[in-house]
């Protein structure tokens, strides 16, 4: 860990002399090669919540969890690279909200900027809280010390080297995560008797849980109906809710990831960034999901009992039990327990450093997205308009410090009010779901107007709230899980409800944006050149060598994803 800290701080220090303008500090001066931005693109997203969360889902849902990657990420990454990056990059917008200002108007930008800034700070705080608790549990380290030390290190290297430093360190963290977790999969598979041994044990585990025998081993089998697969959702809800709305909503509009692509050094590099990121992303299920699946069936040392995941404890310290009388497992501990069970001292240090690195890369991503959105979209647009660039550079640094402090505060709030976390994540889902409809209409329909976009976004969020308030997942009581306006429909699982809420939000935003746009006056077409598909010259993006064209890479990525889906169906 000490070596890792020295490395990330060293990278920041190495870059400090380049940070002479606000553009260099906040948006990396658009100077980074595609492989760097590509790996940073995926690494910024690969926070610890992803690593631990996917392990947890792997234990809960089996290989079907890979849907979150193969349906829930790859198609959207391909789409944003091929179709949307030309507008993000070509418009010279310095942030996603700034694109909205160029395309629509100031109020749409402000709505997006403010909601994003708030979400990103809280996201960071929740992540820090989770890390603090985890290291407290695993190593007995003080919650406060873990939070303040990791925050200080992230603050250090971002203050020195800006976005470039964050991106370089994300590349470093990517390799660290791969090297930290690959042996876990290797040893885990050896311990359960190889791939076939794992399949057999998972079949037993599925039967024990009352699911169809092969459901933990297959991704698509049983997707015809919600009751025959572990996720509890049918294929339409999965593909449309997760695969389209949620996934495109995140990968295509979330500034945290788009910012990495916008830092590339050319249009082709920017378009290839998400595609380059998609290649390792496709194989990550084997790195982060498999440990969770193995944890479910690996025998505990000493007792020989199946599974090393501890039971979830209730308020009184007693294990929780579900309706069928089975103990509820604390799935979030699946991956950490694997580290402890399989790694000897030495390798364990590397594994824990990799885990810490994933937390820190997520945090740095949030901080660099926040400081850019604050400085350009909120401060420069509304508070001080015509100051010198040196002033904005100063503001960039100040907001970095501010952002980290706010995130730490959010971490303590998350600790004090546990339900706040769930509530916030619910609110974020409401706000995120309609976003993609707005961007889609903005980029591909020249008739969409600022009023339409603004009102559409608000209706989408309201639509999500209303849908959530009128439905409940099976077995839940009205409250944060839904049903606070009434109970019109029951969904077989929380996932199903989430996916359908997303679909409703998207459709409401889409329809309302179109209707209101048709009733309001659009901007004159010359102003929209380079911002809308039909008004942008296409020859601007031709690469001569077909091996270097983004489209070629996209086809390769999609073909490989289809093959993976077929193998694990």
């Amino acid at each position: 860990m000490a070596v890792y800290f020295a490395a990330v701080l060293g990278v920041g220090w190495m870059l400090r002399r380049r940070m002479t303008t606000s553009g260099e500090f906040l948006i990396a001066g658009r100077s980074l090669p595609a492989w760097v931005t590509g790996l940073a693109f995926i690494s910024a997203n690969l926070g610890a919540q992803e690593v631990i969360g996917m392990g947890a889902s792997g234990a809960k849902y089996g290989i079907a969890t890979s849907h979150f990657y193969w349906i829930g990420a790859i198609p959207a990454m391909v789409f944003v690279g091929i179709f949307m990056m030309p507008f993000y990059y070509g418009s010279r917008a310095r942030s996603v909200p700034e694109y909205l200002k160029l395309r629509f108007d100031e109020k749409t930008r402000t709505l997006n900027a403010v909601s994003f800034a708030v979400m990103t700070v809280f996201s960071s705080g929740i992540s820090m809280y989770a890390m603090g608790k985890l290291f407290n549990l695993l190593l007995g380290w003080s919650f406060n010390v873990s939070i303040w030390v990791s925050a200080a290190i992230v603050l250090g290297y971002v203050l020195f080297g800006g976005l470039t430093s964050a991106i370089y360190n994300e590349v470093l963290q990517f390799f660290l995560i791969v090297f930290g977790f690959a042996p876990l999969v290797f040893l885990g598979l050896r311990a359960v008797g190889g791939w076939h041994g794992l399949q057999a044990k998972l079949t037993d585990a599925a039967i024990l849980r009352g699911l169809p025998a092969g459901s933990l081993n297959h991704a698509w089998q049983g997707m015809g109906h919600a009751s025959t697969n572990p996720i509890g959702v049918e294929w339409f809800g999965l593909v449309m809710g997760l695969g389209f709305v949620l996934s495109f909503g995140y990968w295509c509009t979330d500034f945290l990831v788009v910012q990495r692509a916008m830092a590339a050094d050319s249009m082709t590099a920017a378009r290839r960034t998400p595609l380059i990121a998609a290649l390792p992303k496709m194989f990550f299920p084997f790195l982060v999901i498999l440990p969770g699946m193995i944890a479910l069936v690996l025998s505990a040392k000493g007792s020989g009992a199946m599974g090393i995941i501890p039971a979830k404890l209730g308020a009184g310290g007693a294990p929780l039990v579900d309706q069928a009388g089975r103990t509820v497992l604390d799935y979030d501990l699946a991956t950490p327990m694997m580290l402890i069970r399989l790694f000897p001292s030495g390798m364990l240090g590397l594994g824990l450093t990799a885990l810490l690195a994933s937390f820190m890369s997520g945090m740095a991503g949030n901080v660099t997205a926040f400081n850019t959105v604050w400085t350009y979209d909120i401060y420069q647009s509304h508070i001080r308009r015509n100051a010198s660039d040196a002033h904005y550079l100063w503001m960039g640094r100040a907001s970095t410090v501010g952002g980290v402090l706010l995130a730490i505060a959010a971490a303590y709030v998350a600790g004090a009010f546990n339900n706040i976390m769930e509530l916030l994540q619910l609110v974020f889902a409401f706000v995120n779901a309609p976003l993609f409809a707005t961007f889609l209409l903005g980029m591909f329909w020249k008739r969409s107007t600022g009023h339409g976009a603004f009102i559409g976004l608000i209706s989408g969020t309201l639509g999500a709230m209303i849908h959530h308030g009128l439905t409940l997942p099976e077995g839940a009581v009205a409250g944060i899980k839904g049903g606070f306006f009434g109970h019109l429909h029951t969904y077989p699982s929380e996932m199903a409800q989430t996916f359908w809420t997303a679909i409703v939000a998207w459709v409401s935003c889409f329809v309302v944006t179109i209707v209101v746009s048709l009733m309001t006056r659009p901007r004159p077409e010359p102003e929209l050149v380079g911002l809308v598909y039909s008004l942008t010259p296409h020859e601007a993006q031709e690469e001569k060598r077909w091996t270097h064209r983004p489209a070629t890479l996209a086809i390769v990525v999609l073909a490989m994803t289809v093959i993976l889906n077929l193998i694990f169906r």
Partner: protein
Amino acid sequence: MSIVMATDIRQPIGWLFSALGVILVGYGLTTGGNPMYERSEGVNINLYWGLIILIFGLLLLLLAWRGRRRILGLTARGTPTPAEEARERATGMPPRGALRTAPRREAERETGEIVFRARRRERRRLRRLSGEGR
């Protein structure tokens, strides 16, 4: 410019993994038959994985060193000889070892400019607001 950047990042990554590799290999060698390896199915994972990481780190350092040599070789090259110039004119390709990506990137920037210049008024307004060049 970007090759310098790429070299920059390959170095710290190379150093980090070389250092981590050395630590793991060293620890693996000194704890040879330790009972803690029962956890990892009897495999001395520290030693073997440490070696793999060390090789990866050294490989990156090698790539970084070669990249840097190419650049230094270029700046020390001076003006091209008449033979090199003639070959460049005939084939349209810069001399071997030159920054091959630079002309392509310039072309990219130019086509990007065509799109961008189409919104000249908006860009001027943005420039006034941000106070920076570009």
